[in-house]
């Protein structure tokens, strides 16, 4: 499985690796928020990595995170201006979260675990995989929660319910991985 596939499945930042949980729990209660965050986070994360990679390689290794943060700051500020000019102004908390998650979750993670010698395409594939995993994971969670809210199950919008749903998702992922491991073991044993 390639890096993009792993970002969507085995390292999904919503359902498997609890990387983008704050935003997933917050934005999955309405479709408007889910779409705003899906598009906004995807664009800012991918553009930031494309711009930060050459700067990171040019600076000394201990300044790599600084390059990523400052590049991210510029890109997110520009994204906010675009939202503002197009008449979309998120209220204070969504705006803070948009800034926060763009940087702390999906944006920094590939930079922190990546190495400076890693090929650019590999790093970008990991970033794209994470972004796709984030968008698909968020939309799946939104579908579940908004459907339950639409049927009158009000607690579906609460934080504890969101955490329980994610725990159930993780249990399903654990079970899936366990079964695949057993099948692989069985095949090797057969051979």
């Amino acid at each position: 499985m390639g890096d993009i596939g792993r970002g969507i499945t085995a390292r999904n930042p919503v359902w498997v690796v609890p990387l983008a949980l704050p935003i997933a729990l917050f934005a999955s209660t309405t479709w408007e928020m889910a779409l705003l965050f899906s598009i906004g986070v995807s664009v800012t994360v991918i553009v930031t990595h494309i711009l930060a990679i050459p700067v990171e390689r040019w600076l000394p290794p201990d300044l790599a995170i600084v390059a990523m943060l400052i590049t991210g700051g510029v890109v997110i500020t520009l994204a906010e201006r675009v939202l503002y000019v197009s008449g979309i102004v998120p209220a204070a908390r969504p705006l803070f979260l948009f800034r926060a998650i763009s940087v702390s979750g999906v944006m920094l993670w590939p930079a922190l675990i990546g190495s400076r010698t890693e090929p650019v395409t590999r790093r970008l594939n990991r970033v794209i995989g994470l972004v796709l995993g984030f968008v698909l994971g968020l939309l799946g969670l939104t579908l579940l929660r908004t459907s339950l809210i639409a049927y009158g199950f009000i607690p579906a919008g609460s934080l504890p319910f969101g955490l329980v749903v994610l725990a159930l998702g993780r249990m399903a992922a654990n079970r899936f991985m366990e079964v695949s491991r057993e099948r692989r073991g069985g095949k090797e044993h057969g051979e």
């Binding site: 609890p18 949980l21 943060l69 700051g73 997110i76 500020t77 940087v103 329980v164």
Partner: protein, 198 residues
């Protein structure tokens, strides 16, 4: 709003983990042991107080007077980047034999959702200025009170013989949900004191 109400709000009614889940990342690594959760919670609390104070100074002295609030993200990220560098160097100078551990811990302490959201909200919503570090400290205390019991719960259960399907993050998510539900009951009592900070 009085200081007492503000501190109660920051620590309980608007608890960064159990009410809003502004989770520090990587949450499971943070909760791997009780000792680690205490160390990281204290580190994040220190980072919260430092970053909130420095950012609020810049917000009130530069951004607001010159109508540059739209640059808030850039300024906060610059503050975070240089705070991260400064404190990493200080820590490595004081503990030179723990340089690798410090290198792994500092991103968790400085680069997480709590440390991004809280300073932005405090700079815009809290006055007078000297309330800001105290409120950040209260938010850190709230984080401590959420993270340490969840870590204790996790540490206790991780030694039990549980099915593999509920191992790892599942226990953490369920434990956090239980504690969040418990705080929700307290939150109803504190509803009169609540003020939407973040």
């Amino acid at each position: 709003m009085s200081l007492g109400t503000l501190l109660l709000t920051a620590a309980f009614a608007q608890n960064v983990i159990l009410v809003h889940f502004l989770g520090p990342w990587p949450f499971p690594v943070l909760l791997a042991s009780l000792r680690r959760s205490v160390t990281f919670s204290l580190g994040i609390t220190g980072a919260l107080v430092w970053v909130s104070t420095v950012y609020a100074l810049l917000f009130h002295l530069v951004l607001r007077p010159y109508s540059l609030e739209f640059m808030a993200t850039f300024v906060l990220l610059t503050v975070l980047a240089f705070s991260y560098l400064l404190w990493t160097r200080i820590a490595v100078t004081v503990y030179p034999f723990s340089a690798r551990a410090i290198g792994r811990a500092m991103p968790v302490i400085f680069l997480n959702t709590t440390v991004f959201v809280v300073p932005m909200a405090l700079a815009e919503a809290v006055e007078p200025f000297w309330f800001i570090p105290l409120t950040a400290l209260a938010a850190g205390a709230g984080l401590f009170l959420a993270v340490v019991p969840v870590a204790a719960f996790y540490e206790h259960l991780s030694t039990a013989r549980l099915p593999r399907v509920i191992s790892g993050n599942v226990i953490i998510l369920l434990a956090t949900a239980l504690f969040a539900l418990a705080l929700y009951q307290l939150d109803v009592l504190l509803a009169t004191a609540a003020y939407p900070l973040w």
